[in-house]
Amino acid sequence: MGIPVSSAPNGGPVVTTAAREAYRAPRSRYALQTAAIALGLVAVLAVALVGIQIGTSDATLQQVLGTFWAKLTASPPDNHAARQIQTIIWELRVPRIALAILGGSTLAIAGSLFQAVLRNPLVSPYTLGIAPAAAFGASLAIVVFGATAGGAVVSLVFGALALAALNTVLVLVIAAKRNLGPTTLILVGIALSQLFGGLTACIQYFAQDEALAAIVRWTWGSVNNALWYQVLVLLGLLALTFPFLQFRSSALNAIAFAGDDAATSLGVPVARVRLELIAIAAALTAVTIAFTGIIGFVGLVAPHIARLVVGSNHRFLIVFSGITGALVLLVADAVGRLVIAPGVIPVGIIDALVGAPLFLYLVIARQKANE
């Protein structure tokens, strides 16, 4: 497409010669962002390969790659030891690492979406009350169906998911009916958080010790019990929603940076886009924490770290937030498995302990750079 010099509706020389020369700039304009995304993906792959090797029975890189090759070619293992290590890698390590990657991505992407549509950098995926609602659902499941029985895991996932969905539907219905702005939506979220927090506290108060311990453990958030189906569900969800998020990225930019009125005047159907993106962000959050429990911090901070690297344009920020979230959880999970090995500290605890100092460093470094 050329520059519409003659077709300019205003008449006159709409595009000057100088502007024509500035033409070439866009090709390299986003070189940094593109490079950061490529490097980020390589880093995720590299850290994941290291992460898979860590554990009570250490696996070598060769064994890891061998397992992948064996699964790819459907070739059976040579001996019992090989079968054992392949089972450990394929049934325990890979789902765990994959869940860390996907869970970190979905929470970080949800965080960047919530921050943009609510136009508030302090917002996290949990601001609208999804986490307390999921915690209440999980607590109910633990108390009603028992904490450790085989079927309990499924009921736990469904309990958390159902309540998180209920919370989201409540927020969306209230938002749609009243055409609410960002601040009111956040206040609605705070009210719902308090409500579900109170309900969970009630359950905890009356719960037996064992159930109470299970509830508290769930709220720490971990990828310890990762299963393949969880990985596949999250992968499917991301694959389904990500293209739409990229498609909406320019509308999201307008809402986040220009405000509702100006975004409307820029041709963006603000209320619809806001509801769509809240629904997607809530779904990503709800499904993830139904599998992992409440992993805090990453959803709030990964978008900020990503913004420091690739800038605020959501065309790059959404995907790079996902990469950052994946890296944060991968590193946190690796650290959690190393510090008190063979014991494992839940990733939800470590990500705050590892991520907070890193984030502080980035914020201070940026502040210094601006001075």
């Binding site: 008449g11 595009v15 502007a19 950098p121 320019s250 963006v268 605020s312």
Partner: protein, 272 residues
């Protein structure tokens, strides 16, 4: 080409905010929209921009196009809007901020033509001297220039500005108004600017339109329509008018003199 607004009614619930507003704005013309707080200036501007929906009446451009029937995106290719302030929550560099003006023109990736419009708007508003600074680090006047550049990059034929100078100091007020006047003339854009300062409206706009309780009560060049009676009716204040270098100027009437000053004036008039 003319923006024609005919018998426009806009209401919030039972309250009528705009009452049978009729207005014309031709290309290359800058209109000052005047009126007290709550007179309907912002509502009129937001209705033309498609942010508010009218209850009845028509807004058309170029004779045929009924703007209220257009999709948001198509409307945004004709009408651009500059809000009062930038209200920026996230760091964003100037070029990305101006690029937002191209939102109605591209899908996901801006093309070369989009960037050409951005560069042109940046040059016109003299923002290139600021490099690619973060908009949250700009002064009020610079931030306002970014918003106007964004509207200009939109390449629309109608430019609406909702009190763009209200938060600026006098230097940036004058700078903003000069820029707006210059770009509407040079680019054949029909401009409507809501403004509080009557003297600046007289100086920088081609025509003024007074809104009072949702109705147009005066429309014409400032020198023709400004009168103590009209201004008293609209703002409830007594004024005196003078002419300076051909521009009509509004001054507070005697009733607004501070007591000490009034006493001096009385004394001097007695002495005379």
């Amino acid at each position: 080409m003319t923006l024609r607004i005919d018998s426009l009614f806009v209401g919030y619930g039972a309250k009528t905010v705009l009452n049978a507003v009729t207005l014309r704005a031709s290309k290359g013309e800058l209109i000052g929209l005047l009126g007290s707080n709550g007179s309907g200036k912002s509502t009129l501007i937001k209705t033309i921009a498609g942010i508010n929906r009218p209850s009845s009446g028509t807004i058309s451009w170029n004779g045929a196009t009924n703007l209220a029937r257009l999709s948001r995106r198509d409307l945004a290719k004709i009408v651009s809007y500059v809000p009062q302030n930038i209200g920026q929550a996230f760091a964003l560099d100037i070029r990305e901020a101006v690029l937002l003006g191209r939102t109605p023109h591209f899908g996901t990736c801006p093309g070369e033509a989009d960037w050409a419009h951005v560069e042109r708007a940046i040059r016109l508003l003299e923002l290139d001297e600021l490099g690619n600074r973060d908009v949250t680090k700009l002064s009020g006047g610079q931030g306002q220039r970014v918003l106007i550049a964004r509207a200009l990059a939109q390449n629309a034929e109608v430019l609406l500005l909702d009190e763009p100078t209200s938060a600026l100091d006098i230097r940036y007020q004058w700078q903003t108004l000069s820029v707006v006047r210059q770009i509407t003339r040079q680019n054949d854009i029909a401009g409507i600017i809501a403004i509080h300062d009557l003297n600046q409206a007289a100086r920088f706009t081609d025509r003024v339109v007074f809104l009072h309780e949702g109705q147009v009560v005066a429309d014409g060049p400032a020198a023709d329509v400004y009168s103590p009676e009209l201004i008293h009716r609209v703002y409830g204040v007594d004024v005196e008018l003078s002419t300076y270098k051909g521009y009509v100027q509004v001054h507070p009437g005697e009733a607004h003199d501070p007591p000490a000053h009034a006493a001096t004036r009385d004394a001097s008039s007695v002495a005379a």
